[in-house]
Every structure is written in C-alpha cells, then in structure tokens.
Amino acid sequence: MRDPILSARGLSREYAPEQGCLAVDLDVWPGEVVGIVGESGSGKSTLLRLLSGQERPDAGSLIFTDRAGQSHDLREASESEIRHLQRTAFGIVHQNPRDGLRLRISAGGNIGERLMGIGARHYGEIRAEASRWLAHVEIDPARIDDLPRHFSGGMQQRLQIARNLVTNPGLVFMDEPTGGLDVSVQARLLDTLKRLVYDLGISVVIVTHDMGVARLLADRLLVMRFGRVIETGLTDQVLDDPQAAYTQQLVASILQVS
C-alpha cells in the first residue's frame, strides 16, 4: 500500500479550553474522501484550516507527501513553501464562494489564475482550458467572460471548484461547500463533486455539519466534539452503527429530518 498523502499526529490548536482542536490523529490516503462532521464549535473548521496550512498548530506533527513522493513538514515549513503548496498541490474550497473567487475578474480569469501562476503564458490555451473546466462543472462555456457576481450561488460554488481543480491538485479541502445553497441546488452540486472526485482520483477532506452530505460524498468519517475526534470509521459503519452516544444523537437527528 502507498503512503498516506497527508498524515497528522497529535495535531492541536487551542483558543480556549475545549475550543479549537485537540490531539487529532488523521491519515488521508490517495483518492479517498474524508468527511469531518460535528456541530458548530466542535473544532472541525479549525482542523481543516490546520490541515490545509491556513493556520499553524500549537502541537503535533503534520506531513504532506506530494505526487513526486517528496515529504513536506507543514508545521515547520516556511510560509513561502506553504503558499506554494496551496497554489499548486492543494485546492481550498470556501463555504462562501465570495471568499474563494476574485469578484472583479471574469469566470475565465478566475479559472485561469492558477494556470498563469504556475507559468502558463498562452492566452488561447488558458482560455481553452478554462472553457473545458466550465463544462466540467456544468456551467455554459459561453459565460466564460461573465463576472462571478452575475452567477447564482450554486454556479459561483461550481466556479470556485473549477478554479481549484484546474491545476489538478492532489488534495482538496472543502469547508461546507453546500452550505447556504437550497436543497435542489445542493443535490446537483453534490452530483458534480462526486463525479469529479471519482474521475480525477483526488483526495478530499470535507467539513460538513450535514450528515446527508457526509453520507453521499465521504468514504470515511471523523466525528468531532469539543475539539476532539470522538469516533472514526467507514462512513456506512459510522452512520449505520454509531458507537459514541453523541454520534448516535447526530445520526438520529438526520433520520428525524428525513
């Protein structure tokens, strides 16, 4: 078996007692989707920011292995190295697409930015690639020159995903990517995501409070509460046979809803 693409041990970042994220162990394997679930304040977004290098841990270790097999110690890495990884090897999809898009830049420019960032200098090719990616995320390529603010919320989120995936990063972090979208739009976005993850074989770490989203996308789940991981396992296993009392409550809550 290959090595994990991302490996965390004892990862901690505490803002106040039980606030933040405490002693988390996690391995992300190539091609798998890991869901982090829990309610607001459970520490799941903090964990995501730590894993993606947007924040530094107080304690623990975090090793990322790139496609070339090169290991990067993200706790010790320079800001320069982390920003480079974020531009090339990582994708980061924000809950609010406005945080992840350049709003004054056209859809094509938004997708093309990462390509140009790694040295693409042929306008025609960049544009063709942007077109292709718009089609991939089911946005009409005729809208390549439109500004994101003329897009619906669901389209903005698709555009953000295309912008992240265009350089074929090995590891994508998503923070509540379907939050703020209405149910039918969510369903369509989840379909697209599932297809892309499968087609591209990328690894994904996704944070969600929505157990439905977790069930649909994730291969494996981490359940968080008060900053700690209280249960882990294959998604079906966790959802069908939850061990921790808290997980049972979480699972029960979605059953009531549906």
């Binding site: 709003l103 004054r104 020159d145 500004l147 603010r149």
Partner: protein
C-alpha cells in the same frame, strides 16, 4: 452638606467673555476687517461659502472672523444663518462653457483650442517661505485701510485679473472634443432638479444629482482623502484631469411674468471634468467615463476631489463591483457633512452622567459576579 454643582448660566457667560477676549487677541494689534478677510483670505472665504452653501463673501468673512479662523465653525455659522433666509426662486442652470475664463488647464492634451491658461495657481510655486511677505505685512500695518472698505467684493478683484490675464471669449470644453468622436460618454442632457438637501433628508439610493449636491457641500478634507484612496487602489478609476476651469459665469433667474430668464449676477466658479477608465468591450464600443465637480470660488482641490468621488460613486450605474469605501454611497454621503460630523463628535462633551451611571452599575455587578466563588 454637599451641594451639587450648579450655576451653568454664569459659567457660560464667563466662557463667552473669555472667548471674545481670545478672539480679539492683543488689543495693541489692529483688528481684522471683513474686507481684509474677503480680500486676503479669499480661499478660506471660498471654502466657507461652498461648505456653508451660501454665496455671500461678506457673511463668510464675518463667520471666519467670528470663528477665529476655525473654518468648520465658520461653515456652521453660515449654515445656521442661511437656514433662516426666504427662498425667492431657483435659477436656471449656469452655463460653464460660456465662462469668462481665469484659469483653464487640461492634463490630457498638450494644447487645446483656446490654449492652456495657467491663471493664479500655487501649482508651480516652490514651497519656500517667502520672508518678504512677513516684512511687507509689517509695513502694511501702517497703511490706512479705508481703501479696502470701498472694495465691495473680493471676487471683483480676481475678476479684473481675469480680464487682463484670462480669456474673454468662451472656450470650448475639452471633453466636448472627445464627445464628437464618441470616445467619452456624453454628459446628462436633462437638467433634472434633484431634491434640495437643505430642505429634504438624504434618501438612499440617491440620484447622481443628489449625490453631487451632497458632495458640493461636503467636507474638503474628507473628500480629498476619499479621492486619494481611489488613486491608491481602493476603487481605482484611472482618472485624467480632462479639464479644470475657473472663471466667471452669469446667473439667470426665470421671471414668470416675462417668460424668460434675466441675469441676476455673476458667480466665480471652478469646474472639474475628470476623464476616467473606459467601459465596454465585446459588442459595446469602449468609451471613457467621467466624473464631475463644481464649486464656487477658486476651490480647485475640492472640485477635483468631488469629481473623483462622483466617479467612484457611479459604481452601480457602470456595473462595477463596490468594494472600496469611496464607492459606498451610504458611507460616503452619510459622513461627508462636516457640520453633522463635528456636531456628533462634539456632543460627546455633553453630560452623559445617566448613561454612564447605568454602565457603571452594570460593570460593578458583572465584576462582583466574576469574583464570587463558583457555586
């Protein structure tokens, strides 16, 4: 027994007496005449007239004298007087292309029909203190100031400069040359009368003419800083000073009985026509956009700032993302009036005993709760 502090009335009277003494300064130094202020501090007079929204140089000079040169206080005085005045009518729009030009420059073309006319400007002075002025002032103190009293209006003196140094014939607008080619958006053709902000409250979203009215009486320093922020990248609009002109225009008022407008007087004004980044692309032919500023007197700094802020505030109309303070109409217009701003800031000097007492009681209670041992 303790007696609470009273006697506010006496304190106020004493404060005013002290203020009068301070305003007058050393009685051995000659007292300022309004004519001196009108003539020798004319740019301060212009500012007070603009932000006080009243074209009366003598009253503005009085306000400056009364306020010891505190221009915001003077603006306040002038506004408080203005609000008592009856309104006899509304003039027709002034025609600045028929201006008798005192100064006229364009930064966009090396030469334009009618030429570049530098006029009176500090632009190319080196900012070296001119100590000869200090000497002259001492000499001038000996001069009988009867001459000044006869000068009715400080603008008449600049007007005579206009005749000697400036252009008597009307000059075409620089932007009209670009309009002929369709390279710049045309100015609005309708002379729409907006609300009168001195009589009606400001309502958002505001029409452009309403915004311009608010900016025209807005604080010079505030608008200057906002204009500057657009140049530094916060709402950038790529400005070029298409044309700045200062000069005298005729004011006409319609007379219903006659069916036409009669000239009622002259006004020295400064106008700024800013050319900004172009719009268009795709099917739409690119054209430059524009921002506009107009002030009475030689208030070039304010007119330019106004034009830049006017352009930035057109973000919605021109389909630009509003991301910067200068593009935010509510932020800009709600805070541009210095009389309002200083009023509210200065009100913090008023007693707030009751509110503060309530807060004091609360914070004590909270601290007590925090110190109490956990149950």
């Amino acid at each position: 027994m303790y007696v609470a502090v009273k006697g506010g009335e006496k304190a106020i009277a004493e404060a005013h007496a002290l203020l009068a003494e301070l305003r007058r300064g050393d009685p051995a130094v000659a007292e300022l005449s309004l004519a001196q202020i009108q003539n020798q501090l004319s740019l301060a007079v212009d500012r007070v007239m603009n932000e006080g929204s009243l074209f009366d140089a003598e009253l503005a000079a009085l306000a400056i004298k009364q306020a010891q040169g505190d221009l915001i206080e003077a603006i306040f005085l002038l506004r408080a007087y203005r609000t008592t005045l009856p309104r006899h009518g509304v003039s027709t729009p002034i025609e600045t292309s028929e201006m008798r030009v005192l100064r006229r420059i364009s930064a966009t073309f090396k030469d334009v029909p009618g030429g570049q006319i530098l006029g009176p400007t500090y632009d190319y002075t080196h900012r070296l203190l001119d100590f000869s002025l200090a000497v002259d002032a001492m000499d001038a103190a000996q001069v009988d100031d009867d001459d000044w009293a006869e000068e009715p209006h400080h603008h008449d003196s600049t007007h005579s400069d206009a005749q000697s140094g400036g252009s008597e014939k009307s000059l075409p607008r620089v932007l009209a040359l670009l309009e002929q080619e369709g390279l710049v958006e045309p100015p609005p053709t309708e002379a729409s009368v907006s609300v009168d902000l001195t009589r009606e409250p400001l309502d958002f979203p505001a029409a452009r003419e309403t915004r311009l009215q608010a900016l025209a009486r807005g604080d010079e320093g505030y608008l200057l800083s906002l204009a500057y922020s657009t140049q530094r990248g916060y709402g950038r609009t790529h400005p070029f000073a298409g044309e700045i002109r200062s000069g005298v225009v005729m004011v006409h008022c319609p007379v219903e009985e006659l069916g036409y407008a009669l000239p009622v007087g002259e006004l020295l004004v400064t106008e700024c026509d800013m050319i900004n980044q172009f719009q268009g692309g795709g099917q739409v032919e690119p054209t430059f956009t524009r921002g506009y500023g107009l002030q009475v007197g030689l208030s070039e700094r304010k007119a330019m700032s106004m034009a830049l802020v006017d352009r930035a505030l057109r973000a919605d109309e021109l389909d630009e993302e509003r991301l910067s303070p200068a593009q935010d109409e509510e932020f800009v217009l709600a805070h541009c009036d210095n009389v309002e701003a200083w009023g509210f800031v200065s009100h913090l000097k008023l007693p707030h005993y009751v509110d503060f007492q309530s807060e004091l009681a609360l914070i004590r209670a909270l601290r007590q709760a925090a110190e109490a041992p956990d149950v």
